[in-house]
């Protein structure tokens, strides 16, 4: 109870401070707007944004050569950076995995696919062979990308059926040119496919798009989708460092001694102080998310659970990191300097200003020591890729793990410090 009283008192004081409010909410909104606008071209231009491979399931029910070739194309190294394909046999199980958000899409090559492509059947068939495509309706972007690639391959097989000259290598190369696609990839490919229709090419293979579950409204990628979370995290970190420093300020101002002179344990006092910073940070980020959604129409993804999990983990990890720094700093002034340095280094290394995926490999690995990198990876999964809660479990778990370590060390040191 006393922990909550201390935490609520600190939160009240923080939110009544006009300067703190500017730092906590207004500054990240303004900065993400400016940087997002300035780097808009980066996102829409020729430089592709690097993606992690998209999890896709493949069920090949065709016994023939063409089905095998389709599988080889999808699992080829050329598409390896884009798609993480798992081959499985059970179509129902695959659909369920997509429905649970464990994969973004499932592709089913039907029995008789090879015959449709290579045999006389193709020219006389009244209805084309159907490649089934099951998409995760909760994801906004990645299914479009996968759909675009599969459409391109299907399109290639249609051409092959006509000319009999297109090789697997050609098809692979063609699909690989897609690279890490952006949001409008699907549109581009569909346009290309349409142009082939217009050229009068007969269609022997068709893509049957089957959503597994309720379809939700999709959103375009906006530069704000990256920069809003990154600025939000940066200023959250500033705010958390400032908040945890207040423990040392109370030490200097005498209120900490007064707290200790009341029948309140050291542990209650420290947890109350840390709890206040956590509460403040949580509210700060919720206000920031709501404001950015209202002002910039930023879509924070379709998974409220994922957003809540990740926000909780990010705020807790930054709070505990701030507490750790405060615990080992000599005084509030030193904690302020250390906190600023750590915030800026973590921001730069963690990919706040430039996505970490653009770093050289060694720096990409190094960036994983920062809370910022894990936080940004998680939010990028939600806001840029439109992924679900299951996709941010790793980031959330890592952040909770770091929080536990930081909090344990901070509590140990603070207890030592207060026991004079």
């Amino acid at each position: 109870m006393k922990i909550l009283t201390i935490a609520w008192k600190d939160t009240t004081i923080r939110f009544r401070d006009r300067n703190a409010l500017i730092l906590m909410v207004l500054a990240p909104l303004v900065l993400s707007a400016i940087i997002g606008s300035a780097f808009g071209g980066f996102w829409n231009g020729s430089d592709p944004v690097p993606f992690d491979a998209i999890p896709v399931l493949l069920i090949n029910q065709d016994d023939g050569e063409m089905g095998q070739q389709f599988e080889e194309i999808l699992t080829s190294d050329a598409l390896g950076d884009l798609l993480a394909v798992t081959v499985m046999a059970d179509e129902t199980a695959a659909r369920e995995q997509v429905q649970r958000g464990e994969a973004r899409a499932a592709i089913v090559i039907p029995d008789g696919f090879s015959e449709a492509v290579s045999g006389d059947v193709a020219e006389t068939a009244e209805s084309p062979a159907l490649v089934q495509f099951y998409a995760d309706p909760s994801a906004t972007v990645t299914p479009n990308i996968v759909r675009g690639v599969v459409t391109q391959i299907v399109n290639g097989f249609n051409s092959a059926a006509i000319s009999s000259e297109v090789t697997v290598a050609q098809l692979t190369a063609e699909a690989a040119t897609l690279g890490p696609a952006l949001a409008d990839l699907g549109t581009v490919l569909q346009a290309e496919m349409q142009s082939r229709f217009n050229e009068g090419q007969p269609v022997v293979i068709s893509l049957n798009d089957v959503p597994v579950g309720e379809t939700e409204e999709t959103a375009d990628i906006s530069p704000f989708a990256f920069f809003a979370p990154s600025m939000g995290i940066l200023f959250l970190m500033f705010s958390m460092m400032d908040g945890t420093r207040s423990i040392l300020e109370e030490e200097q101002e005498g209120t900490l001694s007064r707290l200790i002179s009341t029948p309140t344990s050291h542990l209650e006092i420290i947890l109350g102080k840390i709890g206040g910073v956590f509460l403040t940070g949580g509210l700060q980020f919720v206000v920031f998310v709501a404001a950015s959604a209202l002002i910039f129409q930023l879509n924070w993804g379709n998974s409220l659970l994922g957003l809540a999990m990740l926000t909780l983990a990010v705020v807790l990890s930054l709070t505990s990191l701030g507490a750790l720094i405060a615990a080992f700093a000599r005084n509030a002034s030193q904690a302020g300097i250390l906190g600023t340095v750590v915030t800026l280094v973590f921001a730069a290394l963690g990919g706040t200003f430039v996505p970490a995926q653009n770093f050289p490999p060694f720096l990409q690995e190094l960036s994983k020591i920062t809370v910022t990198r894990w936080a940004l990876d998680g939010f990028t999964d939600l806001t840029v890729y439109g992924l679900g809660a299951a996709d941010v479990v790793l980031e959330t778990a890592v952040l909770f793990g770091l929080s536990l370590i930081f909090v344990a060390l901070a509590l140990w040191q603070f207890q030592r410090r207060l026991a004079k």
Binding site: K2, T5, I6, K9, T12, I13, R16, D17, E253, G254, T255, S257, R258, L259, I260, S261, T262, P263, T264, S265, A419, K420
Partner: protein
Amino acid sequence: MSTIVEVKDLRKQYNPPDGVTAVRGVSFAIRQGEIFSLLGPNGAGKSTTISMLSCLLTPTSGDAIIDGHSIRQDPKQVKQVIGVVPQEIALYDTISARENLEFWGKMYGLSGDKLKERVTEVLNIAGLIERANEKVATFSGGMKRRINIAVGLLHNPKVLYMDEPTVGIDPQSRRRILDTVQELNDQGLTVLYTTHYMEEAEELSDRIGIIDHGKLIAVGTQDELTEMIGQYDTVQLDVGESTEANGTLVSHLAGLPGVHQADGEGESVMVQAEDANQVLPRILQTVAEHGRSIRRIEIKEPNLEAVFLHLTGRALRD
């Protein structure tokens, strides 16, 4: 009267074994319902003593029993029965006086109607009920001091520790605080008061402990303490040159008729006499005969400062 605070050979050394020893075996007892003052110059060990009695610092050795509870064995129970008014203003500036009091009340375990009732009562004691909803930051130093005291009273403590509560405030606010302390004591509250102002100790205290360099050098009522030096006036002279080089001056002063004792330290000479006014002309003449010029002269009637001077050879304000 029964004893409510019993301090037994309390010691505190910071960063042992080489650190500074701030309190060197202090023992005293405070009776229920009395005002006990610890009088001493800055750095004498008053705040360290009160911090140990508040369970903020762990004694290096020794113990204290507060209302039957040991500060070493049972600090939580001790904290329930003591109220602490620290030397610094330990309040949150950006929230109101009422919000401050409600917060601190909750820290003492108060809640609900009892909390509201006590907050109103202590605001009345502080004389700030009209300004209860204003931010503490808008208060004068004296008003902040009064709220600082009010916090220590919230949970109706049996003993109130007040660590130099009048430092840095105007005479009017000081007067109000001293009156408040007296009123609280009249209502039965036991007070441990630390100060380096002799006048405050003289005015408030039932008994006084004189502390210097971490040692309690005398304890008693004001009368008992002044009797230690007899009914002598003290004439303190600043002769502008080390008296070590003028040993004959001190011995000549000691031999003057009506002079009880003369001591020299640095540039000062202290002369104890039955009637300072009567011996003063002879003192001035003797100093002149030794070729010394007097830069400052002060006559003190028997009081705590003279006691301190007598016991330590230094003035209280040094």
